[in-house]
């Protein structure tokens, strides 16, 4: 491969879709979805249940055929005729289901051979070390916990050294410690092994801590796509104020600019959409006007942003 060719491949998104759509009878699961993933990204795929995340991931892996649109893997059109492009991808879709009557090693050996028959046992040992399963490799998978199955799933996804990992809800069914371990593992795959990762989860807090870029889907449509830092604009933080007694805020804040920032209110709680640096000023105004404040907290998180966005969209729809 010439230098120019390799530079072109470097610039090419590792995965891209153009106007991807899929319906199941009358249900439009994914509509006109266009997005791209650059090399090195940890790309968060967010959306409520039924938003179309899993359907999209299945289309990206050739499990489900799109009704319309195209998928490109490193710039090459992916369809049923060139499934060899899947060698560039490792994936776990939904649950990490494997053959329970086989050992972890046997499962890994089998799927490694399916990806590339030339993969040596030393590579298997290497990935088992990465996911922390080396000591349990000879145990039957039916004896594994959900966390161990997830880690074996990641070993299977990693074993053929793919450039892109597609992980659909990898923290599903894990306990808090398992979730933390999985997060650590995913971050190290990106940082230490330089993998590009597409990850979906309904645990948005997890994605916020992992992803560099993200797409938010709702009812099969893309709502927003971009850098997590940009999407989590600190000037748009939600500040929640808890009062000691029920209060009529519209009267209390009459003739102030704060009223325009009021996002949501109930007798004991008010939410302002504002720059958090202005929180002391808000506090001062409220106290001066006789409000007794119990607590002020910032809801600066992707979850708040996501919920606001999807709720707003629902209202618009």
């Amino acid at each position: 491969m010439s230098n120019l060719q390799s530079q072109i491949i470097e610039l090419e998104p590792i995965l891209a879709t153009r106007s991807l759509s899929k319906s199941f009878k009358d249900f439009k699961a994914v509509q006109q979805l266009t997005f791209s993933i650059d090399k090195g990204d940890i790309y968060g795929f967010l959306g409520q249940n039924g938003a179309g995340k899993s359907t999209t991931m299945r289309m990206l892996l050739g499990l489900i055929y799109p009704d319309e649109g195209e998928i490109f893997i490193e710039g090459q059109l992916f369809n049923n005729q060139n499934r060899h492009l899947l060698a560039k991808i490792g994936a776990i879709i939904e649950r990490p289901d494997m053959y329970g009557y086989l050992t972890g090693w046997e499962n890994l050996r089998m799927f490694a051979t399916l990806s590339d028959p030339s993969i040596k046992n030393s590579r298997l040992e290497e990935v088992l070390e990465i996911v922390g399963l080396r000591d349990r490799a000879k145990d039957k998978v039916k004896a594994y916990s959900m966390g161990m199955k997830q880690r074996l799933g990641i070993a299977i996804a990693l074993v053929h050294k793919p450039e892109l990992l597609i992980l659909d809800e990898p923290t599903n069914g894990l306990d808090p410690q398992g979730i933390a371990e999985m997060r650590h593992l995913i971050l190290s795959l990106s940082k230490d092994l330089n993998k590009t990762i597409l990850i979906s989860s309904h645990l948005l807090f997890e994605i916020e801590q992992i992803a560099t870029r993200m797409i938010i889907m709702h009812k099969g449509k893309k709502i927003v796509e971009g850098q997590v830092e940009e999407l989590l604009n600190p000037n748009e933080t939600l500040v929640e104020v808890h009062f000691k007694h029920p209060i009529e805020l519209t009267t209390l804040l009459n003739n102030t600019t704060w009223l325009s920032l009021l996002h949501q209110t109930s007798p004991l709680v008010a939410v302002f959409k504002m720059n958090p640096s202005e929180t002391p000023m808000l506090n001062k105004t409220l106290v001066e006007r006789g409000a007794e404040i119990m607590e002020i907290k910032s809801k600066h998180s992707l979850e708040a942003y996501f919920l606001t966005l999807t709720n707003d969209t629902s209202v618009k729809n």
């Binding site: 299945r58 050739g62 055929y65 499934r83 991808i89 879709i93 089998m110």
Partner: protein
Amino acid sequence: MIHLLKIELFKIFKRPRTYISFGTITAITFVIQLAMLTDGKAFVNFALQGINEQFEIQGNILNGYLVTYIILQSLLVHIPLLVALVAGDALAGEANLGTLRLLLTKPISRPKLVMVKFLSSVIYTFILITWLAVVALAFSLLLFGKGDMINLKSDSIILILQDDIMWRYLASFAFAALAMTTIAAMSLFLSAFADNAIGPIMTTMGIVVVLTILSNLALPLFSLIKPYLFTSHMIGWKGFFDNPVPLKSILTSAGVLLLYTVGFVLGTIFYFNKKDIKS
């Protein structure tokens, strides 16, 4: 392709369920052999009641060849269930287990996967029939010894000399393997439509039972369709115990079974290649 096939065979023969079939065949065969050891002479005398009055029959009538024929008559009807246990599970079982989606995220083509599933089912079927041959023929010969074989038909008696029998058995087992390959192909075809193995296994048995009944009904309406039912041709192995052997009829039956097999495999490839994997 060879790597894929090795993997499929590894999965089949690592699974405890696979050995149910071998255990069942062994158990039933031994039960029949035991029954023939204890009551075989009375059974043979009863069967030859009318003939004994007109002919003088000498020698070891209750020999290994006759016992094997009796075993095959009773057992070959049930082998389709044992074949369906594996072939019906090939795609639907993977879907039910959730491993189908993991398999299909690997860079292998769907037609190739179907072909490998079919070939592995065929290899399993051949091994099963070979096992049947070993436990039925080898153990019967060991227990009952050799001798000329009397094949009692509804309208005639066929005497086959012991030196002329072994090739007939080998040919019969080969034909039975072909017939069971058709069953495997049908089970695999049904398996492509389901996400649970029970459905294709039961449907295979349902189809075999219904078509066998239709094949055996002596009604003019069904006579028209009988030549086109694969179940009518599955009993073609019996032809090898006729004298002379109806080679043309056997080859026709083999051809029909082969056509059905190819049809089922192509149907599976066509459907599975278009199927959305939602399991």
